[in-house]
């Protein structure tokens, strides 16, 4: 049985109206965040000092800045993440249409094959990254 609201998604004129609450919600959430920070600025005390202004490094005087070069591994993770995330995003529309396809439909096999080919490329990338040691964190 189809839900009475199923048709909602397919009505173009409704599509934008749906998002009206989102605008209100975002305004409310941002208002909450800003109000809290402003309120505590007003209510809370404010005293400054040379030692107080230091960065906290377990009681030692901080040496140098923290904006230094860091391990390249983090870049690798970010790149591999991009590969996978873009892949997943492309899979979502497919995931919601594929089950609704009649399996007897001759195109269903092609649909599955294409997605498997797409997944295959990612899996090759994964195996490659694995062999290269991207996923070893020692």
């Amino acid at each position: 049985m189809l839900h009475p609201l199923t048709t909602l998604a397919s009505q173009p004129n409704v599509a934008l109206d749906q998002y009206l609450p989102l605008a209100v919600i975002i305004v409310g959430a941002v208002g909450f965040a800003v109000a809290n920070i402003v309120l505590t600025k007003i209510i809370g005390p404010s005293r400054r000092g040379a030692n107080k202004g230091m960065s906290y490094e377990s009681g030692m005087n901080p040496v140098g800045t923290a904006r230094k070069r860091f391990n390249v591994r983090f870049y690798l993770i970010a790149m591999v993440f991009l590969v996978f995330d873009v892949e997943i995003i492309f899979l979502y529309p497919w995931a919601t249409t594929f089950p609704n396809l009649d399996p007897a439909n001759p195109d269903a096999g092609i649909w599955l094959f294409r997605i498997f080919f797409f997944l295959f490329t990612t899996i090759v990338a994964y195996v490659y990254g694995f062999r290269k040691g991207v996923f070893n964190f020692d």
Partner: protein, 547 residues
């Protein structure tokens, strides 16, 4: 859909080979790891065989180009694979074999090197099957992006990294320019499909001239793509990159991006067609047409400057690789002349008057001959303490090579003569076709400049001939690389240059590949007819363009 899969079968085979090579190249066992190169060659062989049997694609702007272009890619690719053996990881693998180091996949580049090589060739093949500007753009980028990395990792020296960075930044600039051109072309015609663009442009030309936005788009695209073919406004990287990269990679850079660029240019120019009167409106009948005026001027200027700059600067070089780089620029100029001449529009077109066929044939010949010269450079080396041998790159190192290293010396002599275009060799036939096609298109001025430039080129090519052949060697024979396949690649290409005396079969294939490009299809003929009716009213009825 399935017919498209048949057309793309070589690409799919290459892509799957790439995936296999990528994984196999990281295998812990050396024996398995060494299979990367044979597997790459195998994939190219299968792709080439598949390519020869590909049917024509009626939806493509260059309908018959696919079998020739892809088979050429696979064939030259096979030579290149032989040449590329042992380029990367030499000292590392040696250290692993001696047991000094444990194999760690993160320190090896073999997998990436061959995988990127195959990616680049896949992109080249995709260029040939492109039916759409977006497809063409992606294919061109797939050609280029791997080559940046290959140039960088080809040696462990600083100059390779410098070359890679330089190549990458200028390449990004070129890509930006032609992408902008593509965008304008889309804006001016309202479609990204190349056939759609052709029809739209024909309609615009018939109704009073091509849209200036589309025209600007075409010119920007051509200038941007001239980066790939190393033509003059974008040629600055060539010498530095060819010198910085290892010689096998330079040989690849001289063929793969250049071919891709020329095929892309042919596609775009075919969308314009070579059937315009000087004013830019469509030609009436089977008179000798040409490109629209502004495109013609742009291309002719690029061609003349490219030839001249390449040849004159090549005269000044002492490094073999820089010399070959400038010679590569000059050859681009030669081919541009035939590109301007275009396919013969006249009804009784022979093989000598098809400029596009001449370009396609020249690309093949240039690729093969050039691999021979670079193979000699790749084979000679100066041993270094760190195990990464340094290439012998100076002209003086060739002195007396025919006596000390006869095989390499003769390869160099034959291939240099081939590049020069000495009559019985393969290079002559290629250049002959360039000349005849340009003459039959009436580009006499360009032909004269082409002839003069060939004469200038003789100076430096003869240096490459006389130094090994006539001079006495100084000191000991130079050391050679332990990779026999590189010598084999050189010998093979020299043999091809020497033995294929009159390569009619290949010429016919090239001409057939260029067939039906740039002509206006019957579907669109009404627009043309409308424009010529006005003229026909003044003159006596003229026969319509031959279908």
């Amino acid at each position: 859909m399935s017919s498209l899969l048949v057309l793309l079968a070589p690409e799919i085979v290459l892509f799957i080979t790439t995936c296999i090579v990528m994984i196999v190249g990281l295998w812990p066992k050396l024996e398995v790891r060494s299979l990367a190169m044979p597997i790459a060659g195998m994939g190219l062989l299968i792709a080439g065989v598949l390519a020869i049997n590909t049917p024509a694609n009626p939806e493509s702007i260059l309908p018959n180009i696919i079998p020739y272009a892809k088979a050429m890619t696979a064939g030259v690719g096979l030579l290149l694979v032989l040449l590329l053996a042992g380029t990367v990881d030499r000292s590392y693998e040696a250290a692993v074999e001696r047991g000094e180091l444990r194999f760690n996949p993160i320190h090896t580049n073999r997998a990436e090197f061959f995988a990127f090589f195959l990616f680049s060739l896949t992109g080249l093949m995709l260029c040939a099957s492109a039916t759409d500007l977006i497809w063409l753009f992606l294919a061109l980028e797939l050609v280029s992006l791997p080559t940046y990395v290959m140039a960088t990792i080809s040696t462990r020296k600083l100059r390779s990294q410098e070359a890679g960075v330089k190549y990458f930044f200028l390449g990004a600039l070129g890509a930006a320019i032609f992408l902008y051109g593509f965008a304008l072309l889309y804006g001016g015609t309202g479609t990204t499909n190349l056939i759609g663009i052709r029809d739209a442009l024909a309609e615009q030309a018939a109704s009073g001239g091509i849209n200036p936005i589309a025209m600007a788009g075409i010119i920007l695209s051509l200038i941007g793509i001239s980066f790939k073919i190393a033509a003059v406004p974008m040629h600055f990287y060539t010498a530095d990159v060819y010198q910085g990269a290892a010689a096998p990679v330079s040989a690849m850079l001289a063929f793969v991006p250049k071919t891709a660029g020329f095929i892309a240019m042919m596609g775009i120019l075919a969308a314009v067609g070579w059937q315009y009167a000087p004013g830019g409106e469509t030609l009436a009948a089977d008179g000798v047409g040409t490109l629209p005026r502004s495109i013609y001027v742009t291309l002719a200027a690029i061609a003349v400057l490219t030839m001249t700059v390449g040849n004159v600067l090549a005269l000044l070089q002492r490094s073999i690789k820089r010399l070959l780089a400038y010679s590569s620029i000059a050859h681009t100029g030669y081919m541009l002349v035939a590109l301007i001449a275009g396919p013969s529009i006249a009804a009784e077109a022979g093989i000598t008057s098809n400029g596009l066929g001449a370009v396609l044939f020249y690309l093949l010949v240039y690729g093969v001959t050039n691999i021979g010269t670079f193979a000699v450079v790749a084979c000679l080396e100066r041993p270094q303490p760190d195990g990464e041998a340094d290439e012998l790159d100076d002209l003086e190192d060739l002195r007396g090579l025919c006596r000390t290293r006869p095989v390499l010396g003769w390869v160099m002599v034959i291939c240099a003569l081939g590049l020069l275009g000495l009559p019985p060799l393969l290079g002559f036939w290629a250049k002959f076709l360039l000349f005849t096609s340009a003459i039959s298109a009436g580009e006499i001025a360009l032909v004269v400049i082409l002839g003069l430039n060939s004469a200038i080129a003789a100076f430096y090519y003869l240096k490459l001939v006389t130094l090994p052949l006539l001079e006495e060697p100084e000191g000991d024979a130079p050391a050679t690389t332990p990779f026999a396949s590189r010598t084999f690649a050189g010998v093979l290409s020299a043999a091809l240059v020497l033995l294929a005396i009159i390569p009619t079969g290949i010429v016919d294939a090239a001409m057939e590949a260029a067939d039906r490009a740039g002509t206006i299809v019957p579907a669109n003929i009404e627009a043309i007819e409308r424009s010529i009716t006005a003229e026909a009213l003044r003159d006596e009825p003229t026969p319509i363009i031959d279908r």
